[in-house]
Amino acid sequence: MEKFKVLIVDDELDFLETIVKRLRARNIEVSGVESGYLALEALDSSSPDVIILDVKMPGMDGIETLREIKKKKPLTEVIMLTGHASVESGIQGMQLGAFDYLMKPVALDELLEKVRQAYERKLIQEGQGSH
C-alpha cells in the first residue's frame, strides 16, 4: 500500500467510479467525489495528499475549486484533468499552483506516475515548511 491519499473530483460518474475502483485495485487509498463542493468537504474530512480535478464541472468548476483548495490547504497537490485543451485554463491552473495539466483520455499508468511525482513534491515542500 502506497503512503499517499488521493481524491478524485469528476462529475462524470462512470469515469469516477471506474477510476476509483482501478486505483483501489492497485492498493491506493483513494476516494471520489462528483463536485467541487464535495471536494472541499472531503479536503477537511480526509485531507488527501493529491487531488485529481476535472476542469469542466457544473456548479463550482475546476479552477474555482482549485483556488479554494489552495486557500485551505496550500500544500495539497492538484493535477488538472480535462477533455478540453484550452490553453488559458491550463495556464491559469498552473498559475494557481496546480502540479500539472493532463488531457483526457489518459492512460492510468501515466496518471499514476504524475500522482507519485506530485506527492514527492508535496513531501519536499512539507519538509521545507517544517524547517
Binding site: F15, T18, H84, A85, V87, K104, L108
Partner: protein, 551 residues
C-alpha cells in the same frame, strides 16, 4: 470585367489629360501664329507701299528736275538766241553734259513750226510742223506738258517734255525728248527678289515701262487695272489663280501709276518657315504630353490595381482567419465532447483488464478472447485520442501564440495531417530532418498553415504517383532554419514563377483554389521574420524553401 473597367478608366484619364493640355497648347499656337501672321502681313504690305511711294516720288523728282531745267533755260535765254541752231547746240551740249537723258531739243513757234532743232533726226525734224498734234495744244494751254511714252521715229521708248514761254504778244515752245532709260532704271530698282516686278502704267492702263515678266511697252498691262488709283495702296490680289502682292504709287506730274508686284512665296518664306517650326514644336509638344499622359496613367493605374489587390487580399486573409478561428472553436468543442466519453470507455476497458489479471478469471475459457478484445478497445481509444488531441492542437493553433518550438516537430505534425491523402495518391513523402535543429520562438499554428499550404500544393502538383522530399537544416550564417519542400510535379513555367506569390494567382481549376494560399503563406512568413523562396524546373519539379529565423 475588372480589366475592362480599368481599361476604360485608363483611357478616360489619358484623354482628360490630353484634352486639358493639348487644347490650350493648340489654341496658344494658333493665336500666336495668327497674330504673327497678321503683323507680318501688315509689315510686308507697308514695306511695299512705302517702296512704291519712294520710287514714284523719285520719278516725280526726276520729271520735276527736267521740267525745271527746261523752264530755266527757256526763261533765261531769249528766243532770238535760241533760234540760232549753233547756239542751241551749245546749250544742248551743256545740259547733256549734266544729264544724259536729253535726246534732242527743239524750238517751236506759236504756229507749230519748228524754228530750230538739235538732235539726231535733224533732217526729219527740221521742217516738222506740230500744229495738229494734241501735245501742241496741251502745252499752249497749260504751259507745261509731259507726254506719255512712245516709240516715235527712234523705235525706242521715250517721251517729251515741252514748256511754253510768252514773250510779249507771242509765245514759243521749248521741247525736249527724254530717254525712258532713266525711268526704267528707277522702276527696275523695285524688282525685288526672284519674282518681284514693277512697271508704270498710264491712265489707260498702257505700260510705260517694260515689266520684268510678260508684256511690252505700250501694250496693256497684264496685271489688275490700277490706272485709276489716286492714292498709294497695297493689297493681295489673285491673278489667274496666282496670289500676288500689289502696291501702287502715284506719279503726280503725269498721272502715271507705278505698280509693284511681289510673289507671296518670296515674301512669306520666313513666315512659312515659322509656321513649319510652330507645327513641329506643337507636334513635339503633343507627342511629349501624350507619352507623359500614357506613362503617368500607367503607373497610376498599376498603383491602383496593386492597392485594390492588396486590399482584396487582406480582406480575404481576414476572412480566412475568422473562418479558421471559427473552425478551431468547433474542433475544440467536438474534441471535448468526444474526449469525455472516450475517457470513460478507456477507464472501463482498463478496469476489465485489471479484472482479467485476477486468478479466477484467467481460468475462464474465453479469457484470451476477452483480453484480445480489451486490447483492441484500448488500441482504438488511443487512435481516437490521437485524432481528438490533434484536433485540439489544431484549434489551439488558431490563436496566435509565440512559443518555443522545434520546427521538425511542427513539420512532422503538418505532414501527419496529409499522410492519408498522400498514401491515397501513391505519393511517397521522404523526410530528411536535421537532428540537431535549434529550438526557436515562433508560432506553431502559423508555421503549420504555411507548411500545409505548400504541402497541399505539392500534392496537387503531383496529382498521382510521385515523391515529396522534406529537408530541414540549420543555416548558421544567418542563424535561420531552412525547410525545403520539393515535389516531383510538372514544375512551374518560368513566366509564371514570379507571379505565384501574387494574390489570386492560381493554376488550379475554378473553385478549387482561391489563389491565396501562397500569398497568405508569404505574408505569414514575413510576419514571422522569415521568407519563402521558390525554384522550379519544368518537368522536374518545384522546390519551396522556407526560411525561419532562430530566435
Amino acid at each position: 470585367m475588372e480589366r475592362e473597367y480599368y481599361k476604360k478608366l485608363r483611357w478616360e484619364i489619358i484623354l482628360t489629360i490630353l484634352a486639358f493640355s493639348v487644347i490650350p497648347l493648340l489654341i496658344l499656337g494658333a493665336v500666336i501664329y495668327y497674330q504673327f501672321n497678321q503683323s507680318y502681313y501688315t509689315k510686308i504690305m507697308e514695306d511695299m507701299k512705302s517702296m512704291a511711294e519712294n520710287h514714284s516720288s523719285s520719278i516725280d523728282l526726276f520729271l520735276d528736275e527736267r521740267i525745271s531745267q527746261l523752264n530755266s533755260l527757256a526763261h533765261t535765254i531769249p528766243l532770238e538766241k535760241l533760234r540760232d541752231e549753233a547756239y542751241l547746240e551749245k546749250v544742248f551740249n551743256i545740259i547733256q553734259a549734266r544729264s544724259r537723258s536729253f535726246l534732242d531739243l527743239g524750238i517751236i513757234d506759236q504756229e507749230g513750226s519748228q524754228l530750230a532743232y538739235v538732235g539726231p533726226y535733224y533732217a526729219l525734224m527740221k521742217s516738222a510742223n506740230y500744229k495738229d498734234e494734241d501735245w501742241f495744244h496741251a502745252v499752249m494751254s497749260t504751259g507745261v506738258y509731259v507726254s506719255d511714252v512712245f516709240l516715235g521715229f527712234r523705235k525706242s521708248p521715250h517721251f517729251i517734255i515741252a514748256v511754253m514761254v510768252r514773250e510779249g504778244s507771242r509765245s514759243w515752245i521749248l521741247r525736249a525728248t527724254i530717254d525712258s532709260d532713266i525711268i526704267e532704271n528707277i522702276v527696275r530698282a523695285a524688282w525685288v527678289g526672284k519674282m518681284g516686278d514693277a512697271f508704270i502704267i498710264d491712265s489707260e492702263d498702257i505700260l510705260q515701262t517694260k515689266p520684268r515678266f510678260g508684256g511690252a511697252v505700250l501694250q496693256p498691262a497684264l496685271a489688275p487695272d490700277f490706272s485709276k488709283a489716286t492714292v498709294p495702296q497695297a493689297e493681295e490680289i489673285a491673278v489667274n489663280g496666282d496670289q500676288g502682292l500689289f502696291a501702287v504709287g502715284i506719279i503726280k506730274l503725269k498721272k502715271w501709276v507705278l505698280v509693284i508686284r511681289e510673289d507671296p512665296r518670296d515674301q512669306f518664306t520666313p513666315l512659312l518657315r515659322t509656321r513649319s517650326l510652330m507645327v513641329l514644336i506643337a507636334l513635339g509638344g503633343v507627342a511629349l504630353i501624350s507619352i507623359g499622359a500614357v506613362l503617368s496613367t500607367r503607373s497610376m493605374m498599376n498603383e491602383m490595381i496593386n492597392m485594390e489587390r492588396q486590399k482584396a487580399a487582406s480582406e480575404e486573409m481576414a476572412l480566412q482567419e475568422s473562418k479558421m478561428a471559427a473552425l478551431g472553436k468547433m474542433a475544440a468543442g467536438i474534441a471535448h465532447e468526444i474526449n469525455n466519453p472516450l475517457a470513460v470507455i478507456g477507464e472501463k476497458a482498463g478496469w476489465i483488464k485489471d479484472l482479467l489479471k485476477m486468478a479466477d478469471v484467467s481460468k475462464n475459457e474465453n479469457f484470451q478472447e476477452i483480453a484480445a478484445a480489451v486490447n483492441k478497445i484500448e488500441y482504438h481509444i488511443n487512435r481516437a485520442r490521437t485524432v481528438t488531441h490533434r484536433l485540439l492542437g489544431f484549434a489551439r493553433q488558431m490563436e496566435p501564440v509565440t512559443e518555443i518550438l522545434n520546427i521538425n516537430t511542427v513539420l512532422e505534425e503538418s505532414v501527419a495531417f496529409l499522410e492519408n491523402e498522400a498514401r491515397y495518391r501513391n505519393i511517397d513523402i521522404q523526410a530528411d530532418y536535421a537532428l540537431e535543429l535549434p529550438m526557436t520562438a515562433s508560432d506553431t499554428g502559423q508555421l503549420q498553415q504555411v507548411f500545409l499550404n505548400i504541402l497541399n500544393n505539392a500534392i496537387d502538383a503531383i496529382g498521382k504517383d510521385g515523391e515529396i522530399h522534406l529537408k530541414t537544416r540549420h543555416l548558421a550564417k544567418n542563424n535561420e532554419i531552412g525547410i525545403e519542400i520539393s515535389d516531383s510535379g510538372p514544375g512551374i513555367p518560368k513566366e509564371m514563377l514570379n507571379k505565384i506569390f501574387d494574390p489570386f494567382f492560381t493554376t488550379k481549376e475554378v473553385g478549387k483554389g482561391t489563389g491565396l494560399g501562397l500569398s497568405i503563406s508569404y505574408s505569414i512568413m514575413e510576419k514571422l521574420g522569415g521568407r519563402i523562396m521558390v525554384a522550379s524546373e519544368e518537368d522536374k519539379g518545384t522546390t519551396f524553401t522556407i526560411y525561419s529565423p532562430v530566435r
